[in-house]
């Protein structure tokens, strides 16, 4: 057969079509296809030659022309409707998934059950399971509560595995619902599906009945948000999704009960805070925004200066609060650590490292989570200075506040007011001095091309300072200039790093943060490294499809720059020159055009921009679009770091 013949008159066996394109055509001409299931109705030249055509049976099913097999009873109240009701009751806003047949019952319920359907939760279309979980990670970090992800059997878990692993390291709560269809494709099912990720999830269940499944989903939520927080897994058999629920009622949801310190401990802390001449509150990352607000209330009540990690990660004490900073006197006579170290006493919730004995049944021994880890290397545990109570600080603060309020004398109240004013003045002065110093550093190479990463952060700040913003992308590879230049005053101002340093996280996490942002009138800033982008760029489409307010600014240094430097040093050690260090570490030949790539996914985009004088105007254009509820990408050619 000649090529011409092949492209014009394919046989049923030879036709090669793209299935999605085929279906798009098929949807509008289903009847014709039903009687003539060949590709003759299509234009074969429009389809990639490497795809196999769907079978006649598949087409019939996908186009709705094939009547499902008759069953003895009509399912009027499928079990998956009740599962969705459970998710609604728990306030799950989104379920992200890349579709899979093992959860088709649940997916159908999400999009059709309830009034309105597909709302709380809304089905979020992801193009990769890793992206789905990264979205849940970004959302969970921003809001301090779970969203859900559906994964398709063994293959879905494996696609998602690295993202789950990072969420586990970050302690991000999320609910992973794994579809299991034991009677369908055997390679997609397993006896103990959750075992594939048990070592890096907090809790899992394989319910055998529908009532058990509903309880398991509720328990998954409670486990996810209870310290140590983290991802939880419920494997849901297809039979349970499709089962007729009859009169079964959804059990009422009982929120998690998270323990704090006892009254005696709270009283002791309150007395020490009140007795101190210069108390300080060292703060870390709280579980939820309520923790941040409670910490502020306590600091104001006792007039303590406060440290923060808000510029390093989510759920921190507001950085520009008048009490945040070194304070008027750095000789602190009592330091209370709230999720942070203290030379005196700190309250710190348990981390997932405490789960290793129970969850790491295979003895994998993940670094940073295992017993007796080496003292070197990134992520090695830091030594504790003072007394540490392993208990949730957020749950403890209200009792401390109550005790302080009860014990405080008028004289103490007067001294505290004076102290607050002194701290505010000193902290403002310290802030201005630090900012001036930072600017001296950031202006280096200000007018150079490619554009300095400092200039990206600097130009952005005046444009977003009055907005409700969230920097959701990890910033270490772009030198974290926001830490010195921006004010991180919200629990979600900066969402921190990847968790376990794995690449491919940024775009998905920003998309998840943008889901939260869309519902709350917020905007998300994504300073997107090019290396990270290319692992799973499909989230660009998700952001467009779901109309997410996300500004992506490419930090396009055309390399995996960290590795570039590592290889250079290694070549130097071996005396072989660094002129081949670009091999395998750079993205050249060809350069990637990210604006075109984004446009291909349907996103408004521009660039590449290499003239620094053009940057601010591009950022303004992008923010105008984002504030209008659409994502935007600006490709910026940058200095390496």
């Amino acid at each position: 057969m000649s090529k011409e013949q092949s492209s014009q008159e394919p046989s049923d066996h030879e036709v090669k079509v793209g299935r999605r394109h085929f279906l798009k055509g098929a949807a509008s001409s289903a009847a014709a296809l039903a009687v003539a299931p060949t590709a003759k109705a299509q234009n074969p030249s429009a389809f990639a030659a490497s795809y196999t055509a769907p079978t006649y049976q598949q087409l019939q099913r996908d186009t709705g022309a094939l009547t499902p097999p008759a069953i003895e009873r009509t399912v009027v109240r499928p079990g998956s409707d009740l599962m969705v009701q459970v998710l609604k009751d728990m306030g799950i806003e989104f379920v992200a998934a890349n579709n899979g047949s093992s959860f088709e019952g649940l997916q159908e319920s999400i999009i059709n059950y309830g009034s309105p359907p597909n709302k709380m939760p809304e089905y979020i279309t992801a193009l990769h399971e890793e992206s789905s979980v990264d979205m849940a990670n970004g959302y969970g970090k921003a809001e301090g509560k779970p969203m859900a992800v559906m994964l398709h059997g063994t293959i879905g878990i494996q696609h998602a595995a690295m993202a789950i692993y990072q969420a586990y390291y970050s302690g991000t709560p999320m609910i992973l619902i794994v579809g299991r269809d034991d009677g369908f494709i055997q390679a997609h099912t397993a006896n103990d599906m959750a075992a594939m990720c048990r070592s890096f999830t907090k809790w899992d269940a394989l319910p055998k009945t529908l009532p058990e499944c509903l309880e398991a989903l509720q328990e998954a939520y409670r486990q996810a948000v209870t310290p140590p927080t983290g991802p939880t897994v419920v494997v849901v058999d297809m039979e349970l999704q499709k089962e007729e629920a009859r009169e079964l009622q959804v059990p009422p949801f009982r929120p998690a009960v998270i323990e704090g310190i006892d009254v005696a401990t709270a009283r002791d802390i309150a007395q020490k805070l009140l007795a101190a001449n210069n108390p300080r509150i060292a703060t870390g990352s709280f579980r939820t925004p309520e923790g941040c607000a409670a910490a502020v209330e306590l600091a104001e009540l006792v007039g303590a200066s406060a440290s923060t990690t808000a510029h390093q990660g989510p759920m921190g004490f507001p950085q520009r609060h008048p009490l945040c900073g070194p304070g008027a006197d750095i000789n602190y006579d009592y330091v209370l650590g709230l999720e942070a170290n203290s030379p005196h006493l700190s309250l710190q919730r348990p981390t997932v490292a405490t789960l290793t004995a129970v969850r790491d049944t295979m003895g994998i021994g993940f670094g940073g989570l295992r017993d007796n880890p080496p003292a070197t290397g990134r992520g090695a545990p830091r030594p504790q200075e003072g007394t540490v109570l392993t208990i949730d600080a957020q749950a403890s603060i209200p009792l401390i506040i109550a005790e302080v309020s009860r014990l405080m004398t008028p004289e103490q109240r007067r001294r505290i007011e004076e102290r607050r004013a002194a701290h505010a003045k000193a902290n403002h002065e310290a802030r201005m001095a630090a900012l001036l110093e930072a600017i001296e550093q950031k202006k280096k190479g200000w007018d150079l091309s490619p554009i300095s990463t400092a200039r990206i952060y600097a130009e952005l700040w005046p444009l977003i300072a009055d907005e409700d913003w969230c920097l959701a992308s990890p910033s270490s590879f772009s030198s974290s200039h926001h830490m010195q230049l921006w004010d991180h005053n919200k629990p979600y101002s900066y969402l921190g790093g990847q968790g376990a340093g794995g690449m491919g996280y940024g775009l998905g996490a920003c998309t998840g943060a943008a889901l939260a942002a869309r519902e709350r009138g917020r905007i998300v800033i994504n300073i997107q490294t090019d290396g990270d982008f290319n692992y799973a760029p499909g989230s660009i489409w998700t952001a467009v499809h779901h109309e997410l307010p996300m500004l992506t600014v490419m930090h396009n240094n055309r390399a995996w720059h960290q590795e570039f430097m590592f290889i250079q040093y290694m070549a130097g050690v071996r005396g072989r020159g660094t002129d081949r260090g670009h091999i395998g570490t750079t993205l050249r030949d060809p350069f990637i055009d990210y604006a075109k790539l984004a446009q291909g996914y349907g996103m408004k985009a521009e660039g590449p921009i290499d003239d620094p004088t053009q940057l601010a105007a591009a950022l303004r254009r992008g923010l105008d679009v984002v504030k209008n509820g659409e994502p935007y990408l600006i490709d910026v050619l940058t200095q390496p770091r």
């Binding site: 001296e440 280096k444 200000w446 007018d447 150079l448 490619p450 960290q562 290694m570 050690v573 020159g577």
Partner: protein, 136 residues
Amino acid sequence: MKHITYPIGALLAMSLAPTLYAQNGDAKAGAQVYYDYGCYGCHGYGGYGRKDLNDTGSAILVNEEVFRAFLRGRADVAPLLPVTDMPNYPANSLSDEQVRDLYAYIRSMPPNLPETGGVETFRQILEIAEQPYRND
């Protein structure tokens, strides 16, 4: 090897400034060495990076001989953990002529440090910092 030429124009723009130190090398050729050997990786395309080169007063850059000795005398023992320190450059990996050109190029890099008050963005950042705290 195949030379990637796209950033060289930007690099050469730096080589036009007057210099304080005498150089024997060819700054234009040095710009190509700077790119081919990935010096920009740590030092930026214009001399600003993890380690700045522009007008730093570094003793290592006081003259070509000291610079060459520095390149040749770097650690040659592989550390156990990956590092991004300055690589070693023995003569068989970077010739004396290349070092000469590279030095000429580095010494030609002009400072790029605008006055803080002359940059509108910096003025705005400082104004924002002066505003009272609000967290609404």
